[in-house]
Structures are given as structure tokens and as C-alpha cells.
Subunit: 320 residues, 2 copies
Amino acid sequence: MDSIGIDIGGTKIAGALVAEDGSIIRHTRRPTPAADGEAILDAVAAMVTELASDGSPRPVGVAAPGFIDLARSTVYHAPNIDWHNEPVRARLRERLPGWEISLDNDANAAGWAEWRFGAGRAVHDMVLLTIGTGVGGAIVTAGQLLRGGFGAAGELGHMLLVPGGRLCGCGRHGCLEQYGSGRALMRYAVELADAGGIGQGLARLRADRGAIDAEGFAELARSGDTGALEALRELGDRLGQAAASLSAILDPELFVLGGGVSIAGDLLVDPVRDAYLAHLPARGSRPEASFAIAALGNDAGVVGAADLARSAGAISRAAD
Amino acid sequence: MDSIGIDIGGTKIAGALVAEDGSIIRHTRRPTPAADGEAILDAVAAMVTELASDGSPRPVGVAAPGFIDLARSTVYHAPNIDWHNEPVRARLRERLPGWEISLDNDANAAGWAEWRFGAGRAVHDMVLLTIGTGVGGAIVTAGQLLRGGFGAAGELGHMLLVPGGRLCGCGRHGCLEQYGSGRALMRYAVELADAGGIGQGLARLRADRGAIDAEGFAELARSGDTGALEALRELGDRLGQAAASLSAILDPELFVLGGGVSIAGDLLVDPVRDAYLAHLPARGSRPEASFAIAALGNDAGVVGAADLARSAGAISRAAD
């Protein structure tokens, strides 16, 4: 049966009707009504009705930022939305009587999509790291999305990387997000420009840094700009350290790198893999994980949410 | 059906015939033939035959240190034993024809036992940290022992705590084991004694440190010795940082603290919990884990190995 996935982002809400094979039948999007939870719920309900043009109820999966409970019904806390212990599923059911609705964290939905239909479709155990403005993550192990005891697992941007390090938005010091995000990449680039002796490209980037996006940065790196490549290497070094630590904990077969910065492709993957191998505990005595760029791009959230609405995040995948 | 668990330790091999409820029907032990894999296999086979006094084959679970493959048949690498990609299950089957044999990592077996029958029996998601000479670990999530993609998950002593920090036996710098183990506790105590101004107890400990064990240390702390308490607090601070990071990744309901140092009880749990709460990302916006001391002591390895021989590490536990 097809199902509907809705992905509530910071600037837009994306929605899609998704077939069982993960392909998108129809999609839609709207700007996110900033901070206003009620308006977001109205928008989600309208998008669901719009996507199900025949009017018949289907499973609906909603991906949202923040912490969501294990019952997949309540948002404990979402950044930039006025939801605190908000029973989002019940609120949506009021608007969509008779529909089955479930909630998931947005990064978890994206990770599930990559595992089901994307870069992780051939493995059993996978970790997704999304490198955008911040760092997000998801863990799939033995065919299950790892939700943890309260539903808040996979917040990989907030694993501790540097005790006593940079203050993070989460209130703690030294989180991976402060060292492995797109924002950190920009900081490395500016620091390199300040230090001088790097290519003209980063000097221009610095003059114009408000407007630089991940795509522009990746182009600069692909053109061979020493500073951009060095900043990517610095970012990759931190992400590779984190990946080595995650291998000690989770031992995935595959790390998938997604988010805006992953447009850099091998210029990101190579330094991450190099640092991973340099920092892997007991290297040589244990198997090593592989690395790949996410395959589903911006569709991962809606595709994952739609599939989670059907599968609930547990699939028995026969051993190859 | 009862089953047999064997736990291969650094100094002794423990074995038990274990009932389905986790209780030990009969046990036995032998010194570990140092480094000699063949002699260890001979000892294990003899212990199995001894424990199954009626001679009828039962499931046998063997817990061993080191990395064990996902098929639970081969030891990739074990510290202090000459096993490298050693097909231990096949070698044991040669000695015990007709018996079903499976292998697990020793800390994973202990964690499974605590989750099934011990401190974690009331929760779904649990992390075990064993604080002995080194630091070991195990993860149970959604009723499954987390083995990872290659079988090497749960090596929590080798999660990265301090980038560029102390060199670890695994070849990497800054592993948790260098900051959160019994060996680190001793180091903290000696450093405090060197710095002066601490209680007579630690000065005596320092003079006599070769002979101090976890029990002696815990007694000193319980007697109110300032230095011993401060060293435990320093250890707890590091372990709490690691637990906060593990909450971001795994979000367990419960952390169970085991291993020799856990004999200190609340004098260990309290500082770990304090540091955990101080370092928890987004505290106040998400649920918090609980902390408990392991309940099964030295029996956890044999009980877990015996149960894993039956259950393979996946149990559906009805929601409360």
C-alpha cells in the first residue's frame, strides 16, 4: 500500500505520497509557519488531504525535528517550534479523523530511508551522519531503527567530541556538532583565510561568506582551492574521529554521509575515511566499516517517514 | 531447558550449568592456561562434559574476550590468547561432537545476563559499563543484544573521550578506558597523593599500591578518606561524561555499572550520575537515564553465555 510522508523542516514542510518501493508518486511543499505549532499542524493536515487525492485514509508518517517519544505520538521538545510535551499525533487525528498517524525524528526518518532504499540498502547495520548546518544522525542495527529507551537515540551531533570544548546550542560543551557541521566547515575556512597563505578562493569566500552555501564551497574545493580542501580535511578529521568512536560503540558496516555538505562527495568521504582508519581502535584486529554518500538527497525525510508509517522501523532483511 | 555457560577470563575459566530462570545449578572453574588457545579449548571441553554430568548434549555458550564474528563462530582477535581468525566453534565441535555451541564477547554476555536476570530486568534499553582493570561494555536495545555489523559492537572502553589524550592499548589515543577504568582510578589516587594535602589513607595506599584492590579502595572511601573519595569523583566525572555521550547516541533507560570497581556502590554511582546530568545534551528537554550497580557480580558472564546459547540475544519482552 502507498503511504504518506511529511517532513517538517525549518523553512519548508515537504510532503509526498510514496509507493512501497520507496518511489515518490506525488509531492507537495509549503513554507513552514515559523514557530507556530498550530499553524504547522493545519498545514500538515491540508497537505495530507491534498496528497491523498482519492480521499481514502492511508498510513501517514510525520518527521519532525527534536525529541519524540517511543510511542511515536508526542514531541517532547522541538527546536524553533512551540511544542513542549505536545501530543502531536492526537492533534493531527483531530484534524484527520480515521487516519493512522505516527511521528518520527526527521534524521531517523532520513536514515531509515537510506537503509531501506538508498545508500544502505545492501547492509544490515548502518549509521547516517547528516552534515548540514548542524549534525544529525540515525542508527539502523539488525534491521531495526534504533530508537533507544525513550525515543531520543541517534542524536549523533551531540556525542561528546572535545571535553570542555566549544559551547553547543544544547547547553553542553564539546559536542560533535561544533566540530563536524557545515557551520564548523565555514569556521575552519575563515580561520584558514585569517591565517593567510591559502588560495584566493577562500579569501573571496571570506569577503562574501554570508552568501556561501555548501554547493559553492564544494565547487571551490573541486576547482582545487587549497584552503577549501584543507577546511574539508579538518572537518573530515573530526567526523572520522567520531566515526571511529561510533565503530567502537555500534560497529556498523557502513557510514552514510548526508546533509548539505555531502554534495562535496569524495572530497568529504576521503578525509573522513582517512581519519576513521587512523583513529579506529584495534585497527587490524577487527573489520572496518565502509563510507558512502547518501543517495536520496532531500527526499530522504518524506520517503523515510512514509515507510516508517507502514513498517514502524523494523524489517527482517534476509542475509545475503 | 538448562544450558551451559563458559566464561574464559584472563586468570580463570568459569563454567556453570544454568537453569532457564538464570539460576546456577552447578558450577566449576579452572585456571586459564596462559596464552595457549589449544589448552584453553581442551579445558572448555572438559568443563562442559563435567557440568553435563548426565552426558546429554545441551546448548553451550562460550564467552571470550576480544572480537567475535556475527555468526558467533570465530574469534577475530583475543587479547592474550594466540587466536587470530580462529574458528573456535568448529574447534570445540571437534571436541564435543553433537553439541550446539555458540560464542559471544564476554562483556556482551555479562550485559545480556544483567538485562535478562539482573539490574536491567525491568527495562527495555540498557547499557552496561564494566569498570575493572579496563572498561568493557554491552548494549541491549529493544530486547536485542546490539552486536553491530561485524559482531564487534559494545566496546565502550574504546569510545573516544579525549582526542589526542593518553595512549591506549588498542593503539589509539584518548579512549574512555584510559580515564574511566580501575587502573585510571589508581592513577588519580596516586596523583592526589603526590599533590599532597589528602588523607593518610591514600598515602598508605600509595606506599602499598601494588597490593591495593578495588575492595580495599572502596573500604577506604567508605571510611570517609578524602583522597579516595576524590579519586572516585574524578573517575565518576569521566564515566558520567561518557554516559551523557552514550545517551545522545543510544538513549538507554538505564546504565548498569559493573566490574571490580562497582563494589564501591553509591560512592561510584553518585559521582557518575552527577556528571551525567551536568553533561547531558539538552537536559530538561528530554528524559534522563537511571543508574544502578550490576546485580550478578562475577556470575554474569557464565549466566549470560548460557542464556545466549538458548536465546541468541533476542527476546521479545512485553511492554509493562
